[in-house]
Symmetry: none
Amino acid sequence: MATKKVDRRIQRTRKLLQDALITLILEKGYDKITVQDIIDEANVGRSTFYAHYLDKDDLMAGSMEPLRAELHQHLIGADNDHEQEAAIASLALFRHTKEQYHLYKAMIGGRGIDIVVKAINDALLEHAQTHFEQVERDGRQLAVPVPVVTTFLASTLQTLLRWWLDNDMPYSPERMNEMFLQLVMGGIDSVVQDSFEVSKRTIYRDLDALS
Amino acid sequence: MATKKVDRRIQRTRKLLQDALITLILEKGYDKITVQDIIDEANVGRSTFYAHYLDKDDLMAGSMEPLRAELHQHLIGADNDHEQEAAIASLALFRHTKEQYHLYKAMIGGRGIDIVVKAINDALLEHAQTHFEQVERDGRQLAVPVPVVTTFLASTLQTLLRWWLDNDMPYSPERMNEMFLQLVMGGIDSVVQDSFEVSKRTIYRDLDALS
Amino acid sequence: MATKKVDRRIQRTRKLLQDALITLILEKGYDKITVQDIIDEANVGRSTFYAHYLDKDDLMAGSMEPLRAELHQHLIGADNDHEQEAAIASLALFRHTKEQYHLYKAMIGGRGIDIVVKAINDALLEHAQTHFEQVERDGRQLAVPVPVVTTFLASTLQTLLRWWLDNDMPYSPERMNEMFLQLVMGGIDSVVQDSFEVSKRTIYRDLDALS
Amino acid sequence: MATKKVDRRIQRTRKLLQDALITLILEKGYDKITVQDIIDEANVGRSTFYAHYLDKDDLMAGSMEPLRAELHQHLIGADNDHEQEAAIASLALFRHTKEQYHLYKAMIGGRGIDIVVKAINDALLEHAQTHFEQVERDGRQLAVPVPVVTTFLASTLQTLLRWWLDNDMPYSPERMNEMFLQLVMGGIDSVVQDSFEVSKRTIYRDLDALS
DNA sequence: TCCTAAGCGAGACGGTACGTCTTGTCTTCCA
DNA sequence: TGGAAGACAAGACGTACCGTCTCGCTTAGGA
């Protein structure tokens, strides 16, 4: 057996800390939490906290790991379900956000959200970048550098998510995704310039695959 | 004489504080600045600082006022120069950013940028909102709520600005503005739905007016 | 006319400040009063305060002047009433204290009382010193230096006054004065060594009585 | 072992702070010392200071504890050495004061001395009170309430100590103690009314002597 | 079964920055 | 022109956290 009981103990402590963090975020918001709060909530010694994490942000980032993994699954899943690659799996993200509504709601406005956003962004960027590099290799020229396009996609998605949360989710995840695609696709379309018909067809096919 | 000398003294103190802040941002970055640093740099008493501003962020916000005003001038100017209203005066912002490169560069990464971003966003949102509400009153339906569209615009602009700064401005302001319009216009186009021909024509006219 | 109107104005301002001080002492106790409190209460500018007094203590000392004068009158009066000079006019002080009960009560415990005490002490010392120097000139030797004796008298009187106030004046001024004389006279007696044998005998007897 | 190492650490920190305070008192006088001075001198963190003491005065009071204990020993010792109980062990205090001359000298004039005085007073009062209550239980009536007598004793002792220090100790501790007893015993004598006639006669004689 | 090393709780500690408070000076305004 | 108003520099205060550390207790897993 590879995983020793000591390891389990370590995992248990980390779980305690992560759970405490989530509890406290829901209770008072990320920014107002102190390390003392966390270790009190988790019934853990101060030095233990610092043995596992550099600081509060580090714990936050660590707590995002499951979320990141889940998101990754969604993206991979999209690829598998449809043979055609989808540029993005935005709908999955809207749905996920709806499920985790209270958590994200408690974090927007504070610095905590930045860490989540970064985690999500990294996943999106990686995925989108792969896609567009493929597009370029196909010989279609992009009028805008790839990183700009991917950042644009990620930022727009994020913006819509944020607006959605800020306004207490007045639309369904599906409607939000629709808006997102509508706002984003025109730009993508005009950017992929080599052959209008081909690119347009490809993208719309991607979009269908996604929704 | 309306403005008394006492007022001038107050203005002088605020100027001292704002200048000190800018100096220090360029020197060590916003986040690492303490109130003590500021009052040392400004040769001002601690209580004087707190008599004028709530905290460092408040001073930052106050220091953004001229920038905000300048931006507002650009926006207004755009309206006057061209009879046709332009949705946004993005080029002006790219140019302004280039001029203030060192300042913004020193702030990205820290919380300081959020305050600038908010100031700019507010100005943009106000302007864009006015525009799109007019569009709606003209009878053209938007497939996406106005606030979403404006936030989308502001966020995309912001994202490009940030990418530009992060990558040490590899393109000219004009080229950046071109990218911005290309990314954004398709989405706007597909969102303004009543009459395809009319809306498209209008928007392109706006874009011409802007560039 | 010697006293100009300006002088009257100055006197008026000082009165305002002194009255404000008294009011505030009764309201919150001397120690908790700030210069700001005083000038607010007196409706006077900050610089005006410092034009008249060095600081809060100085104002306190200034406000004690009438009290000091009144006390002086009592002492002089005592001299006139009885042909024999009295070492002290302690009864007058107990009576005066009773009249000003609330004021003193508000001051005990804080530093404010020290200033009053000093004012009273100075008056007492001056008076008592005159008396004992006369005693020495009469050829009677004091076993203890005159300043010690006078300080002893003043301090005992002060101690009784303070105890009296601290305990909300459980006895009449007359009774307090009686106690004072009883405690003090034995010591004075044994110190005034007109007859060496007698005094020595007395002291030893005292010591026996004590043990 | 009852005392844990943590306790020792705490004691060590307190000792550091107390020593720093004494050093600084000798250097610049109690009143001019700031908390920052103390923690700098003691090489201790600011929060550590406030973890142990409420403020500078509290530290002072804490630093008086050994003195208080020493004094207590003297008082107890006095009781044992002589079969006859002495009301007070004033000589010990004069001697102690001479030893700690520089320290007390540095404190008189400031608020610091009040704290020492209070510590000494409390010890004296407790001791004297015990004595006089015994006297009352023996059936001898006191013409003055016990607390007044004890306060009188403590205050006189204090007054002499202060005069002594203020005048740079012109007499030996023994001579000072002699003066003290001389001033105080007459009063005590007349107050302890075991024999009504005698005491009454004594008092009237005293009064005559005075007038 | 015992022993030893690691994980851990508890919390003292040095240190930094905060926002508040008060003081005494200085400048401007106004009657 | 002198007093009122109040902005200001200076700096101490007590609080809140931080990240480091030392100390013993507990406990798992190899001897």
